[in-house]
Symmetry: C2
Subunit: 139 residues, 2 copies
């Protein structure tokens, strides 16, 4: 069983520990935006000795490798997303909580402007923008 994440770890000279393999398996089974705590709980169902610190440390590595991206969905914890599953951004209404998904390309013009005018390579792979949706706008 070859998991894409395992190859990425090997390429970077990182060790393929059972813990990392279990975390990778858990993450790749998900399509949503997970927190460290959620992955911890998920893996613990099959391996009750999983450690939360290890999850945090592994997620940090995966993020550096570009396998997952972070975003702040406004609930006070970092949420991750498996990069290859879909590239997108979010709008979140501070009135009703509605979450609108945006295509990746929506931020392309901004990214291009920053690169052209400032030589700045913006790290905006997975952004959440807060505001008010049409329904909640009048409030």
């Amino acid at each position: 069983m070859v998991i894409p994440g395992e190859q990425a770890l090997a390429e970077r000279g990182l060790r393929l520990t059972p813990q990392r393999m279990m975390i990778l398996e858990a993450i790749e089974a998900r399509d949503d935006h997970f927190s460290a705590e959620e992955i911890y709980a998920q893996v613990r169902q099959r391996y009750s000795h999983m450690n939360l610190s290890t999850v945090y440390r592994t997620l940090e590595i995966l993020e550096q490798a570009g396998l997952v991206t972070q975003t702040d969905l406004g609930d006070g914890r970092v949420r991750y997303h498996w990069t290859e599953k879909s590239r997108h951004h979010h709008l979140i209404c501070q009135g009703c909580g509605q979450v609108i998904d945006l295509e990746e390309c929506l931020l392309a013009p901004l990214k291009e402007t920053l690169r052209r005018d400032y030589g700045f390579s913006a790290n905006i792979a997975h952004v959440t923008i807060f505001g008010r949706c049409a329904k909640c706008h009048e409030v």
Copy 2:
């Protein structure tokens, strides 16, 4: 002595306490991006009984009133800025730490797109975008 902030408080039916007046005075004397702790320290030089919780609670109120805007400059605490002093955004290089200031209008096209295509009124008054500056790009 009439401080603009005081009027805004009155208009919202909020009380004009000595603590709030001192915090307003401290904030309006600043042109930079201050944290709650910094305002606390500043006010305490003249009124040693100032309380940190009061500062946090006051800043929350001022933010709701639109008198200050928040941003995350990447140092693990919320930083505020007196709205009327200048409207801008930031680029921060994760390589060398350089901070580039952006004119407010740089995000206008994005804001307009979100409003037109999604009916979404984005709350992006004071944004910090992380990435790599031209010098640090090759790394």
